[in-house]
């Protein structure tokens, strides 16, 4: 049975350093949750706390309503896939997968039946007597998954499982994990620093930074409605462009905002009254290149990245970080060109000086 997992004000520190600063999270049964954030944000620690491998300083972790803070990982009935896979080198594939069953004193026939079923479902049957050292990266990954599903865990934990694989294999394993979840419907908590994994796998994403939750939501919701500048910048590649600006207050139904780099004042139709320093955030796909004099602001092309399907131009203006603009694949723009950029203020984001997104009005 997939479990419901609940975190109530969970905290942890190492010495004086607070790693997890009070996290609340409710994970529904069968939900696929991805914890994402830059390295050092505490996502792996949080996962290990859910697994029972790290202690909880304060707060509660509940599985199906029961506090499990002091339970062992086995008692919590979690399965875990480690970044290093942690396959026992002295055991064969079948022994690795069956180790938990052996420890649980499941009888050998039943054990073999279940191990065979798992190996079959992961297309590992031919490798059952191989040792981990004889396997490829993708095969090791599958064995690690097999080991964690053989006990039918209530919660399935992944700690950056794909980070040791090359790109092609990563895409393939991503699909396999997704298919597996559709088949088994376990509750999954998955840690990664890769936003593509997060976006493609998650039912909901939890963005962590410095031990606190920045935002929880469905992938597209986070992409389109980031709660703050950190989330806006973390999701999306290339990154959202940021322009320093000044909010001047309501002008009719729209908020008047002056772009610092150009002095132009734009009307933001979906935002309410605000005054003071703000940051405008615009996605590359929402920007358009034009002649310098026609743009909301102008700058010089710093670099052009041609990816085949898309081309991104990085434009630097006075007082801004480079702003990425998506242009047609065949666009002839080149580094050094002077260009202007226009965008639709209705699709842009506004962040207050503390980084929090200014609330949008219902259209």
């Amino acid at each position: 049975m997939p479990s419901q997992v609940e975190l109530n004000d969970v905290r942890k520190g190492f010495g004086d350093r607070q790693i997890i600063k009070g996290i609340d999270l409710a994970i529904q049964p069968s939900e696929f949750i991805v914890l994402v954030g830059p390295s050092g944000c505490g996502k792996s620690t949080l996962l290990r706390m859910i697994a029972g491998l790290e202690s909880v300083d304060a707060g509660e972790i509940r599985f199906d309503g029961v506090v499990v803070n002091d339970r062992t990982p086995a008692e919590r009935n979690v399965g875990m896939v480690f970044q290093s896979y942690a396959l026992y080198p002295h055991m064969t594939v079948a022994e690795n997968v069956g180790f938990a069953l052996k420890l649980a004193r499941i009888d050998p026939h039943e054990r073999q039946r279940r191990v065979d079923a798992v190996l079959e479902s992961l297309q590992l049957s031919a490798l059952r007597d191989a040792r981990p050292s004889q396997l490829s990266g993708g095969q090791r990954q599958r064995v690690a998954i097999g080991r964690s599903i053989v006990r039918n865990p209530a919660v399935f934990l992944f700690d950056e499982p794909l980070s040791n694989l090359d790109t092609a294999l990563r895409v393939q394993m991503r699909l396999e994990i997704s298919r597996l979840h559709n088949r088994l419907r376990n509750t999954v908590v998955y840690v990664t620093h890769d936003q593509v994994e997060a976006m493609t796998l998650a039912d909901r994403i939890v963005v962590l930074e410095a031990g606190t939750v920045q935002q929880i939501g469905a992938p597209l919701e986070l992409y389109e409605r980031p709660a703050n500048r950190f989330v806006a910048g973390f999701l999306g590649s290339p990154q959202m462009g940021f322009l320093p600006a000044q909010a001047l207050g309501l002008n009719g139904n729209a908020l008047a905002v002056r772009i610092a780099a150009s002095g132009q004042v734009l009307a933001f139709p979906h935002h309410g009254a605000h005054a003071g320093a703000v940051t405008i955030g615009i996605r590359p796909e929402d920007c358009t290149l034009c002649a310098p004099e026609d743009g909301h602001f102008a700058g010089a092309v710093l670099q052009v990245e041609r990816l085949g399907s898309d081309t991104f131009a990085f434009v630097e203006s006075t007082g801004t970080e480079p702003v990425a603009v998506r242009v047609g694949a065949g666009h002839t723009v080149a580094a050094g060109h002077a260009v202007g950029i226009t965008f639709d203020p209705a699709r842009a984001h506004l962040f207050a000086s503390d980084g929090v997104t200014l609330p949008r009005l219902a259209a």
Binding site: A51, A74, Q83, M91
Partner: protein, 295 residues
């Protein structure tokens, strides 16, 4: 390695081989002499000494020295004593020391740092420094015997026990295991805990199978020390009953003028170590190189 080949480097290499072979002779010839002399009667040993015949199995070669030494020197019972002492010390030592090292390397408890520090301090106390008071100590320890009925004897002197028990727990072995266990990724333990293992099962099914080389190394170091033990039995085992092989050799050597027989005894005493060395020499070498670098 790519080296430019020219006549000078070739000459240097020839010179190096010559030196290397010279040292081979220096290190091997005493053993060859020992083995060859063990097959020869006394007169011939003396006669051969002046020439290379001393290193060759020539002349009246026979097993007579071996027959005599086995019949007269008590080497059989001494060898049994040494074998029993070595096997017991190694067997018990591997278990006791690895388990303690596991507690130090992998379990969490208060006072761990303190205990580890104490063990490092114990590393530097040699047996020589405590041998004399230890004799007084073991002289007053009780042993249980069975002699028609249960008997208690208030002394460990002249027993095999006294040559085993003090050497089972070994600070060096604990420290060596501790370092080796620390090099095993903790992910393995954690994966096992997630799989439902108890700490002892982690030790038994994960740490021990992954530490084969370490166990072999410690077995060799402790086993060699036990087999070659000399100072301690000289102190605590004055009579013949529990006497180990090396003390027996020293006694035999001092009260014997039959050189051939002494060499036969020495050859027999060396044979087990030599065989072990031939078969496990990789681990012998690793045991020193590993301990040296870390020490």
């Amino acid at each position: 390695m790519r080296r430019p080949i020219n006549s000078r480097t070739a000459a240097v290499r020839v010179g190096l081989y010559a030196i290397a072979l010279l040292f081979v002779i220096v290190f091997v010839s005493p053993f060859v002499f020992m083995v060859m002399a063990s097959f020869k009667p006394n007169q011939q040993i003396f006669g051969d000494l002046g020439s290379f015949r001393a290193f060759l199995p020539v002349g009246a070669v026979s097993l007579q020295n071996y027959r005599d030494v086995i019949a007269t020197s008590g080497i059989g019972s001494y060898a049994l004593n040494s074998a029993f002492i070595t096997v017991s010390t190694v067997g018990a030592g591997l278990f006791v020391n690895s388990l303690a090292a596991f507690a130090l390397a992998r379990l969490e408890w208060r006072g761990k740092g303190l205990v580890l520090g104490l063990i490092v301090i114990m590393l530097i106390i040699p047996l020589e420094a405590i041998a004399v008071p230890m004799m007084l100590l073991v002289a007053s320890l009780p042993t249980l015997g069975f002699d028609g009925g249960l008997t208690i004897q208030w002394s460990w002197l002249d027993t095999r026990l006294v040559q085993i028990v003090p050497f089972v727990a070994n600070a060096f072995s604990i420290f060596f295991f501790y370092q080796a266990f620390n090099d095993i990724p903790r992910d393995f333990d954690e994966a096992a805990y997630v799989d439902g293992a108890t700490p002892y099962q982690v030790f038994r099914h994960v740490i021990v199978p992954l530490s084969g080389t370490t166990f072999a190394t410690v077995a060799i170091i402790q086993g060699l020390a036990a087999w070659n033990q000399y100072l301690w039995p000289v102190i605590v085992v004055p009579s013949a009953e529990a006497r180990p092989l090396m003390v027996g050799l020293q006694q035999f050597f001092r009260f014997q003028t039959e050189w051939g027989e002494v060499m036969a005894y020495a050859t027999l005493a060396t044979l087990p170590v030599f065989l072990a060395f031939v078969f496990f020499q990789r681990w012998f070498v690793q045991s020193v190189m590993g301990s040296g670098v870390k020490g």
